[in-house]
Symmetry: C2
Subunit: 476 residues, 2 copies
């Protein structure tokens, strides 16, 4: 939708900011050469999100190395009326961390690293630019498990994950990013540093300010540091792929499996998705033929000394088989086999589908089956040859949809968006389960949130960022 | 501190509201006789909090029966500049739900009842005035467990529990009230109804507005309804009381027990507390003598079919005994015995201590031992005969302190507050772990929160309640 150098996208924010050279000069004068990159010298990776073409070149790039750098940058930009886009690992999939036209990009990549790990309390203190993988590895080395995992673990940054309240494949066990946070530090648009680096599980002394910054996608403040919970270390997991007749049986299986304290992941693949990835994933032999059934990936693990997650999973699956809920199940017998099952579920193979559009929606788990049928029927009514594949973290009501149409035009893409999101709206679901709204789904926010809610969001935005310099054109 | 009829407490808010008769007339005219009780006719239970003497008589009492009633009441009070105190079950222990002088009380007791229970999704939709016990019973009857439990379950209301983000004895397993909420409806000071009755575990479509109202003690809006998560039903728990040498051993025991997926509660009693309640709790025979050791109450339970929480607890305790972490342990062999262990821990016996003051503070679990020593030493330096007893939910860093001094004067009580909270501040803890700030700890908010944090709280307050009619004199 956007590309090239410096051309603002239609509808992008316009600020009463200084001319290009003057802005660059002001930033360099205030912050120094080491922090500021002039527009012409910015590498494309700072304006190219994962799986997207290059976007709009920012007016300047600032890469702070300290919280104080962030504070000085924002205070200056507020004075100049200069919009700022906070940027993490660019893996958010909602066009929330790229410039839309006329912004300075504030990349957090240098404000990285783990500051402390408290074994007695089970907490880790990290800077916003730290990649998820680094936090997972540090937790692991100290005998803990970090509660969130997702495919982009090597690239995504903790700050971006917090700003979008990232979810992933373990939310049924540990919750999303919001549930991992004990303390948070953020910088407001005017440069005020609000440090709430609480280390306790329970702290009800006044408003829980960190909640303002989690999930608001950089529009209310820039997250700089966090104190995160760690969980007791999980032993090697047991992983199974189950063949299940229909969605009602998937829901019934979930109602059995959610009672297991060992459950970590419960991920479903609709028949069309499973058939496609089973045929098109290189180097992976799928355990069942794709013959019209659902496939459910279940992972169990325990932190209990001497605990046996494999036994728990086997026992539960045997009972589900006896009850006629599961038709067949393959238990991974090696880490490699488990990895292969996950490779099927991650489904990178579908990226080869022509003109693929990805959706990330949620509904209560029991209603996802009906939703998928209704959504596909609505799409097929207008585009008989459309390909729809459904898959996702159904234990928490989150389904991803891949939609592909040979020869898709821009007008088709917009109409397909409208069709999918209308079905979500009509069934009372969310247009964004875990990726956030960004610029991508801004037009559809009102499908999930009421006028009163959006008014209140605007009131909060005006209170925290009255000049509107933080990530304009995103969310609201 | 406060009693009598209609006399404002020193420092209580004064509003530019109509004279008494005119206010009552205006309320009755707008809302009707059925909803409004005139000041003189208000029963003392609407101005008397649990364990407190009667407080200040409100200017009027409004008892809405619908969300629309709440909206009309707040819109009217905003027009009149009339302060309002939202009121639940009055069990909050922080003087957050009583009038301080000049307010109308908005009791939620009539806006009660369960609206829906969705078995497939595992959610319950309730009105704010519903008592906790009713939610627990409904969950139980449908084959689920509600995640929060606390002693006041028969009186406390869901709305008040959400407004104070109540904690209790299961926070290590399920989190506090905040973690139970999927959707929330609240009414703003101007009467706007903001309904965010989300039913999904994952929903990242825009700001998570419900977080504004959870834990802000009725100062930003009045909570009217909520969608709450339910958890798979726990089988009967296994309960043990352990005798542990010192606090380091308590922390070591916690580090073992937190790895058990079956853990529900981990509650410690310091020697002085245990000795007192073991001697003074009627009809309960304590399993150990109070001879200088700590007592730790551990509860384990599982939702797994065929799971054996008792075996898991016994195995973990045997290993802890072999490692020298536990000196002795008594496993309850009946529900009655388990109830007796909980009766010791709940410690109602200490209410008989003269001039008892209760505190509710938190620090990281590993630091609670040092905190208790330092706090007691500081108190004893000024009051050699003071009695301090420590107990609480140490698995989540939350300790309660009972302080008693024969012949305590008001000046002593204030100085004791200052001494306890100074120790909390110096060690980086929270002056309120789970009860909130209310009017009681307002003077100590800055011990836990920075100037920048409190400024931001005020900014949010001004944005949502510019006339300041919602629960003035509480929190901020």
């Amino acid at each position: 939708m956007q590309n090239g150098d410096g051309n603002a996208a239609p509808g992008a924010p316009r600020a009463a900011a200084p001319a290009d050279d003057a802005l660059e000069d002001a930033l360099v004068a205030a912050l120094g050469d080491a922090l500021v990159t002039r527009s012409a010298a910015i590498e494309p990776r700072y304006f190219t999100a994962y799986n997207e073409p290059a976007g709009v070149r920012p007016r300047a790039l600032v890469r702070p190395a300290s919280v104080d750098d962030v504070s000085r940058t924002l205070a200056l930009c507020t004075r100049l009326g200069q919009p700022v886009v906070p940027q993490g690992g660019l893996t958010g999939l909602a066009r929330g961390a790229v410039a839309l036209g006329g912004e300075v990009v504030l990349s957090m990549e240098r404000l990285a690293g783990i500051e402390a790990l408290d074994r007695a309390a089970g907490t880790i203190t990290v800077r916003a630019g730290t990649p998820l993988q680094a936090v997972q590895d540090a937790a692991d080395a100290a005998g803990f498990t970090f509660g969130v995992d997702l495919g982009a673990r090597g690239s995504c940054q903790i700050g971006g994950m917090l700003a979008t309240n990232a979810g992933g494949t373990r939310a049924i066990r540990y919750g999303m990013m919001r549930e991992q946070v004990l303390g948070l530090e953020a910088v407001l648009a005017d440069g005020t540093i609000v440090s709430s680096m609480n280390r306790m599980l329970k702290n009800n002394a006044g408003y829980d300010l960190k909640q303002l910054f989690i999930g608001s996608e950089g529009t209310l403040g820039v997250i700089t540091r966090a104190v995160l919970r760690l969980h007791p270390k999980l032993a090697a997991p047991a992983t199974a792929l189950c063949r299940v007749r229909d969605y009602d049986a998937v829901a019934a299986l979930w109602n059995r499996m959610r009672a297991l304290p060992e459950i970590v992941s419960f991920e479903a693949m609709w028949p069309s998705f499973y058939e496609y990835v089973a045929r098109h994933t290189p180097d992976v032999v799928a355990p069942f033929a794709g013959d019209g059934g659902f496939a459910v990936l279940i992972e169990c693990a325990t932190s209990a000394p001497g605990g046996d997650a494999r036994h728990a999973l086997e026992t539960a699956l045997a009972a589900a088989f006896d009850a006629g809920v599961v038709d067949d199940a393959a238990l991974a017998t090696s880490e490699r086999q488990a990895r292969e099952l996950w490779t099927l579920r991650e489904g990178l193979a579908i990226d080869a589908l022509p003109h693929l559009i990805n959706y990330d929606v949620s509904l209560p788990t029991g209603e996802l089956g009906a939703f998928a049928e209704r959504c596909e029927a609505a799409l097929r009514a207008s585009w008989p040859d459309i390909v729809c594949v459904f898959f996702g973290h159904v234990g928490d009501g989150n389904v991803h949809i891949g939609v592909s149409l040979a020869g898709m035009r821009d007008a088709d893409a917009d109409a397909i968006d409208r069709c999918v999101y209308a079905t979500v709206r009509d069934m009372g679901g969310s247009v964004s389960a875990e990726h956030g709204i960004g610029a991508l789904k801004r037009a559809y926010l009102a499908h999930t949130r009421s006028e009163a809610e959006i008014d209140l969001m605007r009131r909060v935005k005006a209170a925290l960022d009255p000049a509107g310099i933080l990530n304009p054109g995103k969310v609201l």
